[in-house]
């Protein structure tokens, strides 16, 4: 009885904290504060995972998100000193509409969840060997296995890394006369084809 009550109390505590911290993430004026609040949100969800006996997931959550990603964000913020967020004041109407939409969505979701019974698994998930089970499932190529999404995710991660590097890599200096968009007045005009010398020069530039 007491165990069950404390379970409920802890759940609501974690949940309420997660919601409050999420609001803090969105509303923080300084990037660093937002990052710290994000760390809190992620830790709270790790706590929820623990309560669900998903200890592996909780561990991953703390290791990867809290320990990895948010720490990286904090590093980036501190190293680049771009801690101030741009002040963005959306029109009041937009704010009101946004609030109405969010509240309506919340109401709909809560209403739905209260009215429809979810299919809770009859037997509790096995308490021990959670990690082993996940590992086996991920590499199982039989009927109940998840080896395919596991492999696809590895491809996705590789591509995300490559893409991140390419996008973040330092660009050549600006000031080239020609772009395909013609986003400035004079640029869209037709230019005669480049001479051979210029062509060679550019090739060298590219190779450097």
């Amino acid at each position: 009885m007491i165990a069950s009550a404390s379970y409920t109390v802890i759940f609501y505590l974690l949940a309420a904290l997660a919601v409050l911290l999420s609001l803090a993430v969105v509303n923080a004026w300084k990037l660093l504060r937002a990052a710290i609040a994000l760390m809190g949100v992620l830790s709270m969800s790790a706590g929820l995972y623990v309560m669900l006996d998903a200890s592996f997931l909780a561990g991953v959550q703390v290791l990867v998100y809290v320990g990895g990603i948010v720490v990286l964000i904090v590093f980036a913020v501190m190293l680049t000193r771009s801690a101030e967020l741009l002040q963005d004041n959306p029109a009041p109407l937009r704010k009101i509409l946004g609030a109405i939409a969010s509240l309506a969505f919340l109401a709909a979701t809560v209403g739905v969840f209260r009215s429809s019974p979810f299919l809770l698994s009859a037997e509790k998930a096995p308490l021990r060997d959670n990690t082993t089970l996940i590992g086996e499932k991920l590499l199982d190529y039989g009927a109940g296995g998840y080896v395919l999404p596991f492999e696809i995710i590895s491809l996705l991660l590789l591509i995300a890394i490559i893409g991140g590097i390419v996008v973040a890599r330092k660009t050549e200096p600006q000031g080239q006369p020609f772009t395909t968009g013609g986003d400035e007045a004079g640029e869209a005009e037709f230019r005669p084809p480049f001479t051979q010398e210029e062509h060679e020069d550019e090739l060298e530039l590219v190779e450097k």
Partner: protein, 480 residues
């Protein structure tokens, strides 16, 4: 070896990435041919693999519909590589900064193709979601590829945010479904769906619809399309406008026909409303566009409106009609984009009125573009008309005569704005001193073949008949 095409494409991505390490900038031109070869091999593998069967304990399935979708994805990828070649290896690349990194570019492009191919073969929701992400996330990077260009970066950022939002909706919907049924496999989910409490089911369905609406650019989830299409490098825009839309349709097929099954029946008024709004808004906004990429974005939005007419009817008519239309649409749109990419590479011009005189300088390209535009407008006997006709007839059969009338009015409007481009190419005076622009033979052959296919597929009933026959067997397998 059911997964052979996917494996070949993944291997090609790896080969391209590794080759890139060992090549000098000058010799990196061979990367595109390698990519093309990989895709061609994948296509050949697709031709020899059996069209039905499954792998990995039923987690990966192959069926005739998936086969056709894979054909669509591979064709789209192949043409996109040819177009990218014109941008990345051509003269334009030396004029523009920040368009390099060819090895990475092709690797990323190949991986999104693979993602799409897995998407249509997925048989459980986790694979489904993961492949959807694999198909989408690389596109964010490709959109932001032109780093000399602030619009490209902006487009990439917009696409990331909207894409994440769409993914969140889809993920939310799928997890509700999992919560309700306790199944991740699509078959299991579908079997238990009848007992699921309705409000929660509607919520999940609405979430999935919203997410897929973003992918297919259904109004009101279309607002990202114009900016992203305009900012992305032109070959990427081409790919976005065809493959991303085909992937959206593939996802919709998975959700509607495999998961929801017969639950679909009551939704037709909603779909009809979405279709009407989408085609009308896309058309009306397209009229006032000036930039040809933005223009094609809105044209693509209205085409999506026609496309979902196919969901109004029973699957045995709707599926072949939508699949045929998708095939026709990607061929026509790619032909148009081939001309856009080539013209923009050669001259840097992207505004509609800057196409004037193209019929005099490059008559073949202008002709190909015109045929493709007329196909998009639905002029008989081009295939675009036949495809539209099938879709209209489904709406008419389902009793939505008002919708057919709306679609017909929209077709007329669309003819008006497609004619704008034709008029520029054929009537308006040529630029002073403009000569014939050089065309790579690869691009010329692409435009020629695509427009020929567009013209012939309307007259030769083989494709539709095949798709139709295969759909029947596919549906039988779904039920059985």
């Amino acid at each position: 070896m059911l997964m052979l095409p996917e494996i070949i494409v993944v291997l090609t991505a790896g080969v391209v990435l590794c080759l890139d390490l060992f090549l000098t900038e000058r010799s990196r031109v061979i990367l595109a041919p390698v990519t093309l070869l990989g895709l061609a091999l994948g296509f050949a593998a697709l031709l020899v693999t059996p069209q039905t069967g499954d792998l990995l304990g039923g987690r990966f399935g192959m069926d005739p519909i998936a086969w056709w979708f894979k054909v669509i994805f591979l064709i789209a990828g192949f043409v996109t590589v040819i177009l990218s070649m014109d941008l990345l290896d051509g003269r334009a690349a030396h004029r523009m900064r920040g368009i390099g990194f060819r090895g990475e570019y092709y690797t990323i492009l190949l991986s999104t193709i693979v993602g799409m191919m897995f998407l249509i073969s997925a048989r459980e929701t986790i694979t489904l979601y993961v492949s959807l992400e694999t198909a989408t996330i690389p596109l964010f990077v490709l959109t932001a590829w032109r780093r000399d260009h602030v619009q490209s970066g902006e487009a990439g950022l917009k696409y990331v945010i909207i894409g994440a939002l769409a993914s969140a909706f889809i993920l939310y919907g799928l997890s509700i479904l999992y919560g309700l049924t306790g199944q991740t496999s699509i078959v299991g989910m579908s079997a238990k769906l009848a007992d699921v409490p309705r409000p929660a089911f509607w919520l999940a369905a609405a979430m999935l619809m919203t997410g897929v609406g973003f992918k297919l650019t259904i109004v009101p989830f279309h607002m990202w399309a114009a900016d992203v299409y305009e900012g992305a490098p032109a070959p990427v825009t081409a790919y976005l406008s065809v493959a991303s839309k085909a992937a959206g349709l593939a996802f919709m097929f998975q959700v509607f026909y495999r998961i929801f099954g017969s639950e679909l029946a009551g939704w037709t008024p909603l779909i009809a409303a979405f279709a009407a709004v989408t085609m009308s808004l896309g058309n009306l906004v397209a009229i006032v566009q000036d930039n040809i990429k933005r223009f094609m974005a809105f044209s693509a939005i209205s085409q999506a409106g026609y496309l979902i007419l196919g969901f109004l009817g029973p699957a045995d008519n709707g599926v072949p009609a939508m699949l045929f239309y998708m095939l026709v649409y990607i061929l026509s749109n790619l032909a148009v984009f081939a001309c856009i990419v080539w013209y923009s590479n050669e001259t840097g011009r992207e505004r509609i009125e800057e196409y004037r005189g193209l019929s005099l300088t490059n008559p073949i390209m202008a002709l190909g573009m015109m045929i493709a535009l007329f196909s998009l407008a639905g002029i008989p006997p081009l295939s675009g008309f036949v495809g539209k006709f099938f879709l209209f007839s489904i709406a008419a059969k389902a009793g939505y005569n008002w919708l057919v009338a709306v679609a017909a009015v929209n077709s007329t409007i669309s003819l008006f704005y497609y004619l704008r481009i034709v008029r520029q190419m054929y009537i308006e005076p040529i630029y002073e001193g403009a000569g014939t622009l050089p065309v790579r033979y690869t691009v010329a052959a692409t435009v020629g073949l695509l427009s020929l296919a567009v013209a012939l597929m309307g007259v030769i009933p083989y494709f539709y008949e095949t798709i139709h026959a295969q759909t029947i067997t596919w549906l039988a397998s779904l039920i059985g």
